[in-house]
Symmetry: C2
Subunit: 227 residues, 2 copies
């Protein structure tokens, strides 16, 4: 019999949350927060769905999956649902983040995250350029990449954001893995090869723009055909 507290205390034992669903939960949370600020108290699945760009059925399914319950008469309690989602998404302990690569994109990322979400503080930055090493950018000290393992263990880094040129990406990823990090947000257009217990999320800006162009075009030709 298991009596000690453990990480599942507040979570359904066998709840499986997919990547897609996690994105929706993020969106719901953002919207519910806004609604709460506007002193709105309750909401129906079709309203939240409309706001989040999801179907009512999907909202109900998501809410059900995370083990929250509304009432047919009054919909969902906004504050309660918000609490439940945050309980699920926010880590028990903060996840400490390092940025590798302090170019334009890296600085944008620093700016974007600095002071934004206390659950994911960026506590160190790394680069190879001598003029950047030693500097403090957006409140974060920049170290040389060669010191990564040392500094990362010291600062107890859990996650890294890779914003280096593609040819350097695998190298810094391998360093990060050696330093025991658990997850990577990769902006470099390169496929990272890491052990399967390290989670990698790729954000390829060029490919994303290509995608927009591609589907925008196919929408356009559909428009021509139907016109």
């Amino acid at each position: 019999m298991q009596l000690s507290t453990h990480t599942q205390d507040l979570r359904q034992p066998s709840m499986v949350i997919s990547s897609r669903m996690l994105e929706r939960l993020s969106a719901y949370r953002r919207l519910l927060n806004q609604l709460l600020v506007e002193h709105r108290e309750r909401i129906y699945s079709h309203e939240l769905g409309q706001l989040a760009g999801a179907t009512p059925a999907q909202v109900r399914r998501d809410v059900m999956t995370i083990g929250f319950t509304g009432s047919p008469a009054r919909g969902y309690d906004i504050a309660g649902l918000l609490r439940r989602i945050s309980e699920l998404l926010d880590p028990q302990t903060e996840s400490r983040v390092a940025l590798i690569g302090v170019g334009y994109l890296g600085r944008a990322v620093l700016d974007y995250f600095s002071g934004r979400n206390p659950h994911y503080p960026i506590v160190a930055a790394f680069d190879v350029a001598p003029e950047k090493v030693g500097r403090v950018v957006h409140g974060v000290r920049c170290h040389h990449v060669d010191e990564f393992e040392h500094v990362a263990r010291e600062a107890r880094i859990d996650l890294v954001i890779i914003a280096v040129p593609a040819p350097a990406a695998q190298d810094v990823a391998s360093r990060a893995v050696r330093a025991g990090i658990l997850g990577i947000l990769n902006f470099a257009p390169a496929t990272l090869h890491v052990p399967s217990d390290v989670y990698v999320e790729d954000v390829d800006l060029a490919a994303t723009l290509e995608k927009v162009a591609f589907f925008a075009r196919s929408n356009a030709s559909r428009r021509e055909v139907t016109a």
Copy 2:
């Protein structure tokens, strides 16, 4: 009987390319390009799969879907496959892009794309800050957002990249739609409501980092359990 050239000439009549598959095709292309530079001529599905982080079956299925054929004895011809993928992904006419929001992220995007891919030139930027309007950033002139419709029609903009604060996002998106653009790459953490023939791709950096943290954590606890 249809004799005139039209956009389907080089494409399979009823080929359906999903979002996921498009991302893989981008990755294949990147890798094939590299291989070609290294004077490699042929490649097997399991090799390309390994490089791209896909299964051999998936590579074969993708190649089949785009109507390219290899040989069991020698695998795929790299140059030929590359040509076929580019034929599919690259637009017949360039897609002209505008950036809205010239903050850190906007500038990073400008830097990232400036001179990179001639198929998607960023030809104009927009902001509301008086000190930015009129300036030239990374080779792109910055206009006031109020002039969007006028400038966008003049410059024949097809796509916009939105990098403004969330509260301003819907407004600039609506302007863009009114100006007749076809696709939006949206970095603002807001759900954009646009007509269904406008393609929107959201990139939410905060949510993405949250996702990495979430799955990194669940990997970690799995690691503890199996350890």
